[in-house]
Amino acid sequence: MLKNKKTIDDKVKNHIEHLFDGVGASQQLFDLKEELATNLKEKIADYRSKGMEDEQALQEAVISMGDLSGLVDDMRKLGRDKAKQAVYSTKTARISLAGIIAGVLLTLFGSFTVAMLYFINLSAEEAFGPGIFIVAGGALFTYSILTMETGKKYAMNKIRAASYALAVGSLLFGIFVAAVTGLTSDEIYVSIASSMLFVMAGVGLFLFLCLTGTDRLKTK
């Protein structure tokens, strides 16, 4: 059953790719393909629940969509018009760029402050406090780099990117907690116990996102 679903999903994907064959890439095309695929799959599922065979459900669903050539033409124009695309993506690209820079600076600020305080010979607890900036910086950096459209990849959707940021943030926070508690309490088991939850949540979320992701590579 699961294998069946997989082949149907592939067929839907192939059909949509074929539909927009030779159309120049754009973020709008990428989005439209995903929108069409999601809705088409749901329609096929409805047909199948009414007792249709997989293949027939796919055929019927595709036919009932109607003539998509107008939409294909729209996309072709967009793909050709590079200037328009640039306008579409610059605003979000600028925001992502600012986020990346802020993320890196925040991380650096955290690292330098920790190093500085550590060498001033403050107590470890005080010295590692600003490490929280590294956590925030890492999360911001992750979010920004994933939502940026590059020459090779399309932007990730915001919810997904935010989840990645949460995973990285949680992981870093786990390490941060381990460092602070480990250095202040002298008992290693305390630091392991306190960081375990955050590290596990971070790794779990990260793995889930990695394994469920869609391909954002630009093919053309």
Partner: protein, 117 residues
């Protein structure tokens, strides 16, 4: 389906139909498609191809906006929401339609004797 509606007749009203569905709550492509069938009492089906073209046009003109929903088994759904400008457009279109409907009915069914009375 008992009768048919010519594409010419429906074309000018696609946008209003979509706005009418969306003013009653956010929705996504396939659901809007099903709601149109439901609204028509199974008498009319608006092709998805027509719907997606309408979404693009309405969004460009600022009558609706779109956002991605959570992942479902089949992937992410793209939801649409009516804007304030879209609400106003809908009200205006409804008025225009009611006016046109009355005049057209008179033009198509009316006899000259009726007018004299």
């Amino acid at each position: 389906m008992v009768g048919t509606i010519s594409t010419d007749l429906i074309r000018g009203n696609t946008d209003t139909i979509v706005l009418n569905v969306l003013r009653q709550g956010d929705s996504y492509g396939y659901e809007i498609y099903k709601k149109v069938i439901e609204l028509s009492n199974n008498q009319y089906e608006l092709k998805e191809a027509t719907l997606y073209t309408a979404f693009r046009r309405l969004e460009q003109e600022g009558y609706i906006l779109s956002y991605w929903g959570d992942e479902t088994q089949g992937g992410r759904r793209k939801y649409y929401r009516i804007t304030k400008k879209g609400q106003e457009r809908y009200e205006q279109n409804k008025k225009d339609w009611n006016f046109a409907k009355e005049v057209l009915t008179r033009l198509i069914e009316g006899g000259f004797c009726d007018v004299k009375k």
